[in-house]
């Protein structure tokens, strides 16, 4: 079984996680840019983070046979802090990088005017760079936020097939299915979605444009939730091909629109002196 986790924050995970993910079948991930747990206070903090997503993290992932790409953006929460917004001026040069396969996470957190301005500005950047967009939907007042998200995407003239609307649930999946955008589901131990509810959604809406992710970060989360969904799908009567579609071919098709996804799973083909562990000199 091959698994592509289309949304996971590996900077906050350990090398043990990479090993367990590889053993579970994960061969590719996309890491979208978001906050640090603690709010940032300046633009330089974003730049070091972006550099890590473009350098250290893919290097670390490759040691464990996992291909790492990223999505870059000013996240919704920090779009509210004037000390952080200057990063919008730095984004154009970062969006040219080889391993950037989308703009994201953008969207709403508290649904403020500042968030909306940053969201709209970054939809323009995505179109200028011919990149798809990963849109976060808010955890508070989710249905209203998702509806407004779809309005902003439509008004920006963004083709729906280039937009992935994430963190959906039973209340919001229908409107996104109707919009033509891709549908993302984050599977968490306690909150968001769980594997059985995910299977029920797949039964009702089918596997077209459906993506499943662990969204694992520093909080209570689990990078193996993608595999749990695959197993739950098989147990519920879905076939191997359905599983491969949701957990591999759909994310490949979505991020592949960037033209920058590189997946020959020769991740182990790096220089052999890179070894199996991160060496420190």
């Amino acid at each position: 079984m091959r698994i592509f986790d289309p949304h996971i924050h590996m900077t906050s995970r350990t090398t043990d996680d990479y090993q367990r993910m590889h053993a579970a079948g994960v061969r590719a991930v996309v890491e979208p840019a978001f906050w640090l747990g603690q709010p940032r206070t300046n633009v330089g903090s974003f730049l070091d983070y972006f550099d890590a997503l473009l350098g250290w993290e893919p290097y670390r992932a490759a040691q464990y046979g996992i291909r790492h790409h990223c999505a870059l953006a000013l996240n919704p929460k920090e779009a509210n802090d004037p000390r952080c917004r200057g990063v919008l001026a730095e984004l154009p040069r970062y969006l040219l990088k080889d391993s950037v396969v989308a703009v994201g996470e953008v969207g709403y957190d508290s649904m403020t005017a500042d968030e909306e301005r940053a969201f709209e500005a970054q939809l323009v950047l995505a179109r200028e760079n011919d990149l798809p967009v990963l849109v976060h939907t808010p955890h508070r007042d989710k249905a209203t936020g998702t509806r407004r998200t779809l309005d902003v995407v439509r008004a920006a003239g963004m083709p729906p097939e280039q937009v992935l609307v994430d963190h959906l649930n039973e209340m919001t999946v229908g409107m996104v299915a109707d919009s033509g955008c891709w549908m993302g589901f984050s599977i968490y131990p306690d909150t968001k979605m769980d594997p059985d509810r995910m299977v029920a959604v797949l039964k009702e809406y089918g596997t077209d444009r459906m993506l499943v992710n662990s969204a694992a970060d520093w909080g209570r989360s689990d990078p193996l939730k993608t595999r749990e969904v695959a197993d739950a799908m098989l147990a519920a009567g879905f076939g191997e091909d359905d599983v491969d579609r949701v957990l591999w071919r759909n994310p490949v098709a979505f991020y592949g629109q960037s033209g920058r996804l590189v997946l020959e799973t020769g991740s182990e083909s790096g220089p052999d002196y890179a070894g199996n562990t991160i060496k420190r000199g």
Binding site: L96, P271, K279, G281
Partner: protein, 168 residues
């Protein structure tokens, strides 16, 4: 690929010849638009403009930095880019560390930094064959550092790499 790679590269080289700053936009996308070796061709079009090379390195991802480090000795820079090599030696990316000890690093690093770099290679399991001109730069102090490290390994019951044994 929207246009043939060769045509993209030829045009990009002309743009950099006309305006060195144009490389900042072209260099990140050069390999996927212009094919393998495109970054090296663009660096050549800078004719040793060390300020641009430095800022390009500082803004670069790992692939861009690697392309710069491996081309430094061809770029007519004298010792002006040794800071980039020192930066690469501070990383934990074996590809960058090995490239830092290529022909340019070997020519320009001071003795202390060079010895530290060689020892770092041993720690990171980078074969010493990756270090350019090791024979010319090898000295008694580096031999002592490697011997002491071999003693540490033996005390810990770990094997001493063959290329270290050959040097002590």
């Amino acid at each position: 690929m929207k246009e043939p790679a060769q045509e993209w590269l030829a045009q990009a080289v002309r743009q950099v010849e006309a305006d060195p700053q144009a490389i900042h936009r072209l260099f990140p996308q050069a390999e996927r638009r212009g094919g393998p070796g495109a970054r090296r061709a663009l660096l050549g079009a800078l004719h040793g403009h060390h300020a641009v090379i430095r800022s390009l390195y500082e803004a670069g991802d790992s692939g861009e930095r690697l392309a710069i480090l491996t081309a430094l000795h061809e770029l007519d820079l004298d010792g002006t880019a040794v800071g980039l090599v020192e930066d690469a030696l501070r990383t934990n990316d074996a590809r960058l560390v090995a490239a830092a000890l290529g022909p340019y690093g070997s020519a320009w690093l001071d003795d202390h930094s060079f010895r530290q770099g060689v020892l770092k290679c041993v720690f990171m399991s980078i074969p010493l064959a990756a270090v350019a001109e090791l024979d010319r730069r090898f000295d008694a102090e580096l031999a002592r550092m490697l011997s002491d490290y071999a003693a540490e390994l033996r005390a810990a019951g770990r094997p001493v790499p063959r290329d270290v044994l050959e040097r002590i």
